[in-house]
Each structure stands twice: as structure tokens, then as C-alpha cells.
Amino acid sequence: MRERKTILDVKGLKTSFFTDDGEVPAVDNIDFHIREGEVLGIVGESGCGKSVTSLSIMGLVPSPPGKITGGEILFQDKDLTKLNEKKMRAIRGNDIAMIFQEPMTSLNPLFTIGDQLREAIKIHKRDWSKKQIQERAVEMMKLVGLPRAEDLMKEYPHQLSGGMRQRVMIAMALLCDPKVLIADEPTTALDVTIQAQILKLIKNLNETLNTAVLLITHDLGVVAETCERVIVMYAGKVVEEGPVHTIFKDPQHPYTRGLLESVPDMRFKKERLYSIPGNVPKPGSIRTGCKFAARCEFAFDRCLNENPDLYQTADDHQTRCFLFDSKEVQAHDRTVVKS
């Protein structure tokens, strides 16, 4: 397979919220990239910064209190963090589109589905004729598998079910042939049978249109079924990154391991679930050391005092844990030899 070009490159991104308690970094110096036509998953528990990451890329961080305080987001050689609102608007919905968790609240209840789809095209394609716009909207509705597309264009959001609304949202996101589609928990509000339909649709569209997808979710099952590469986030940091197969079969960070073991698997019954002790720390509450140290069963002195880097453990696989620092590995080997 030929090497695919990087399409979106996030470097050292830091997004903070300025509250009464001072600066709270929600996303703390993260790096990752999305390649052309791939499905990249970001997985993590609530408060890990996965949604703030996607909002940062879209330039939608609520400001104030939020602000991108460092790093760059490179898309087609442009740094999105430096663009003004007007230029950002030309990219948002056009080159990079987003679908949200709540298909109920992201459509305007006062306008028909058709109005909302046509508006999205009009903003970006000013020279298109009315007929062209209508045809494009209907075409996308059909592509996402909505029945009787022409009739649905005249209906209002409340007349549609949750699954259909999410399909409309996907159709809307794809109207302008985006290069990157960001899907933030696209199936969390849906039932499993509908979730299966929507995930299949996203995967199909990714293959046929070659749109890169950034899928943000808390559900490890969804990641395993749809993504090629995965980023695991914890407390605003990327703790592990790698191909989906490696992450699930050979997870390295203690957090990733714990997370995978705490999911009840439908295929067999475990006597007892593994559970990570403690709670997810409040953003900004841990200033020094590894953010996971307090809950980690392998933690040692260094974890409490120093910040671990992302250590390369294999091609394409990185882990933010001192256990994989070559210095530690060597030191550990030496003690083994001595004893």
C-alpha cells in the first residue's frame, strides 16, 4: 500500500480554559496527525480532552473562557490557529466538517431539512444555481441511505427519528466534499441497532469518498470496529497511539490496559471485572508527574516527579509511560543481570 499523505497535522496543541481557579489546561500539548482517507479514533473517558481537541481543530472552542494557548494545527500548509474568523469560516464545513453527538439539538427545528441542507451549500458554493444546489442536496440524502429523499427535504426535524436525523447531519457534513470529517460521539445518543447502521455508513463513505474521518468516542467497541489507528487520551494528554490492532492486542500504557480490561465483553462472562482504582482527576489538578500515576499500579518515584514523554515502542506505536523509556528499560535490565 502506498504511503498516504498527512492531511491534518496537530503539533503541540494546548487549549486552556480560564476560570476563577486560574488556567485549566483541557488539552495539554498534544501531537497527532490524520492521513488521507484514514479513520483515526480518539478514545478516552469524560474530561480527557477529546471533544476540546475536535473543537480546537474546528475553531469552535467557546471563547472566553477557552483559548488555544499554544501549538499549531496544520491543514494544507495553513495553520488553522492563526486564521481569522472569515478565513476559518471558509474552511469549516467546506474542507473540514463535523457531526455532533446530539442529532436532536444540532438541527434547527424551525426550518425544513431541505432549507438547512441548501443553506450549507449556499455558504460555500456561491456560484451554484438553485437547481444545482437542490440536486446536490438530494444526491447526498440518497448517498446516506435516506428513503424518499425528495419528500424528506420538505419535512421538519421533529418528523424524523434519531437515526434519520444523524443521517441528515452526515449528509450535511458531506455536502461540500470535505477532506476531513470530524465525528464527535456520533452514535452515543442512538440505540445499538441504529448505531450499527450509522457506523457502517460512516465506514462506507470513508471508503467510497476517501474522506479522512476523526472519530471521537468513549466506546472501545466502536473504535475496534471502525478505526485504523487510535489515540488514547487521559487528562488532556495522549497516553498511547498506534494501529488499532496493536492497541487492542498489545496495549502498553497501564491506563489503556486497565480500560480494555474494565469493559464487559458481550461474548463471554468474566467472573469479575478489572477496575482502575480511583477517579479521573479534575483537569488541572495534577501539575507534576504522570497524570495517571495516582491510579497506576506500576507507578514509581519518577512517575510522581517527572512528566513522561511519548516513547516509541514500535513503528507507529508510542506510549507515554516511563516503563517504556529506554533508560528505564536498560536500568531494569542491569538490575536483573546483577541479581
Binding site: V192, T193, N279
Partner: protein
């Protein structure tokens, strides 16, 4: 075999749809329509289904937080549906409930001590000193500390709040706990903690659970037997091993094959069902699943399949099995 702890017969709940100036009843939403099952002492019965299938309504009717339209509920030999409100209130000492949203189900203005003391006051258990001791004891049992008693709900995380919700349900030493989506608002790592806690408590205190959830993995983990509901009716009920290994109802098969599995190597034949759940106000005739069923036959459109035992301990309502067909 001993008498089951809870027996439900033909339970129904119809919510009227009113319209017009006079508020005439135009139609009914058949939220629960003829559901029967039993729960044995010490076991966990899981009830799964998609939104709108009536699983929560069923749970609420068992406690008579909602009055059933029809049907009978027997608990410990007594008919709950016959009791007066006052008698029912006394019965609730033995049946307690844990709710989904740990944020909404604890009064934000009360301390944890007051919240946990409330059931003891209502049921007049012990004197004030004993009550206080019991509060502290149960805080420890659910994995919190007695110094938490003076705090308010907002000072706790979601997982801790759910522990408080569980402690509150346990205060009256109930026999049966109805847990309605107790872990669905929690993160995976916290969910595992709460599930383990519930299992430990069940062993220690010999509790019986009815565990209502939409997550099939969670339900398999905690349940001895599982019932699958669809549009207000029980589609299938069996012990969890045989339900998950050998589902008989096409809906159960589709549901199970739709659950994403956290294993990238796992492949399976997916039974993808088309369309959405129909409205419970206007359910399809015959078998309610026939509009989405891949194995639909003519009889399915006209005749309601009987919920019948097909194998030992495995009941299903589907015309594919001769036991369900009219004789």
C-alpha cells in the same frame, strides 16, 4: 422448586393520548403490553431493550411508582397490585430502586447523612443514634468513608454519587433491588467499579436484582437470566449463557450482532435490521417485530406470537418456533 420472589403476570401500561379541547382520549401508547416473568431469590434478572421498549416503565410498575393498567405483581406471596397506597409504602421497605442519573436523584440541598437517613425515618427503623450508626456503616460498605456523611452531593464524582444511590437503596435491608440503568451515565473505569460493588453486595447481603440496561455487555456480565424487550413486549427470556450463545428471536440475534465488540480481530455475520423502532402508539399488527424482521412470514403480520417455552428455561415469542404458533 421454591416459590419465586417476584412474579409478574400480564403486566400492562397504556398511557392515554389526549387531544382536543375536551381532552378526549384519542389513542393509547402501549408502553408495556402483556409482560410476564418471574424473579427467583438471590438471582439477577437483566432486562434489555432499545429506547422506548418499556423496560423502565416495567421497573417502575413493579414498585408501583406507576400504576399498572392491568396485570398482577406478586412479591413474596403478596399481591402488590391489590395493596392500598399505605400498605404499598410499607412494602417498599423490601423493594428499593437505584436510578440512572446520580446527578438528578440526590437532593442537592441535603447532606449525604440526611439523604441516607430518610428511608430509615420513613420506615421508622431504629432510634436516631442507631440510624446515624447505620448511615456510617453503609457508607463504608459501598466504599466511601464515614466522614463523607457531612458533605453535599455536588462534592462527589458521578461514580461516588452512584455509590450513595446504592447505599440509600440498601438502608432498609431490602430483598429486591430494581436498578434502572445504574451505570449508563458512568465512564468505563467507574462503571466497572460500580458493577463489582453491586456483585459483592449481592453475595454479602443475599440481594435479588432486577437490572435494567441497554448495554448488552454489562447485562451479560451481571445477570443470571436475561429478558429482551421490544416495543412493550418480552421477545425472549432465558438464562444469560443460552441467550447470548444461542439467541432464538431474530430481534435478539440482530441486537447482539449490532453490539460493537472491543476486538479488531472479531468477525461475525451481522444481522443488520433495517429501519427504526415503530411508534408504540401505533404498533404493528401481529408480531411487533415483523416490520423489521428478516425472516418475516405471512402469519407474523396477522397473529401475535405466544410467549412460550421453546427449550427448558428459554422462552421466546416468535412464529419461527412451533410452540409460539397458535395451536
Amino acid at each position: 422448586m421454591t416459590e419465586p420472589l417476584l412474579k409478574v403476570e400480564g403486566l400492562k401500561k397504556y398511557f392515554p393520548i389526549k387531544s382536543g379541547v375536551l381532552g378526549q382520549v384519542k389513542n393509547h401508547v402501549k408502553a408495556v403490553d402483556d409482560v410476564s416473568f418471574v424473579v427467583h431469590e438471590g438471582e439477577t434478572l437483566g432486562i434489555v431493550g432499545e429506547s422506548g421498549c418499556g423496560k423502565s416503565t416495567t421497573g417502575r410498575m413493579l414498585m408501583r411508582l406507576l400504576e399498572p393498567t392491568d396485570g398482577k405483581v406478586f412479591f413474596d406471596g403478596k399481591e402488590l397490585t391489590d395493596l392500598s397506597n399505605q400498605e404499598m409504602r410499607k412494602m417498599r421497605r423490601d423493594i428499593q430502586m437505584v436510578f440512572q442519573d446520580p446527578y438528578a436523584s440526590l437532593n442537592p440541598r441535603h447532606t449525604i447523612e440526611k439523604i441516607l437517613m430518610e428511608p430509615l425515618n420513613v420506615h421508622e427503623i431504629g432510634d436516631p443514634k442507631e440510624r446515624k450508626k447505620k448511615v456510617h456503616e453503609f457508607l463504608e460498605i459501598v466504599g466511601l468513608s464515614s466522614y463523607h456523611a457531612k458533605r453535599y452531593p455536588h462534592q462527589f464524582s458521578g461514580g461516588q454519587r452512584q455509590r450513595i444511590g446504592i447505599a440509600r437503596a440498601l438502608m432498609t435491608n431490602p430483598k429486591l433491588i430494581i436498578a434502572d440503568e445504574p451505570v449508563s451515565a458512568l465512564d468505563v473505569s467507574i462503571q466497572a467499579q460500580v458493577l463489582n460493588l453491586m456483585q459483592d453486595l449481592q453475595k454479602e447481603l443475599k440481594l435479588t436484582y432486577i437490572f435494567i440496561a441497554h448495554d448488552l455487555g454489562v447485562v451479560r456480565h451481571i445477570s443470571d437470566r436475561v429478558g429482551v424487550m421490544y416495543l412493550g413486549q418480552m421477545a425472549e427470556l432465558a438464562d444469560s449463557e443460552s441467550l447470548y450463545e444461542k439467541p432464538l428471536h431474530p430481534y435478539t440475534q440482530a441486537l447482539l450482532s449490532a453490539v460493537p465488540v472491543p476486538d479488531p480481530d472479531f468477525t461475525r455475520e451481522q444481522v443488520v435490521i433495517k429501519g427504526d423502532v415503530p411508534s408504540p402508539a401505533n404498533p404493528p399488527s401481529g408480531c411487533r417485530f415483523h416490520t423489521r424482521c428478516p425472516f418475516k412470514m405471512d402469519i407474523c403480520e396477522t397473529t401475535v406470537p405466544k410467549f412460550a417455552e421453546v427449550e427448558k428455561g428459554h422462552s421466546v415469542a416468535c412464529h419461527l418456533y412451533k410452540e409460539s404458533r397458535p395451536q
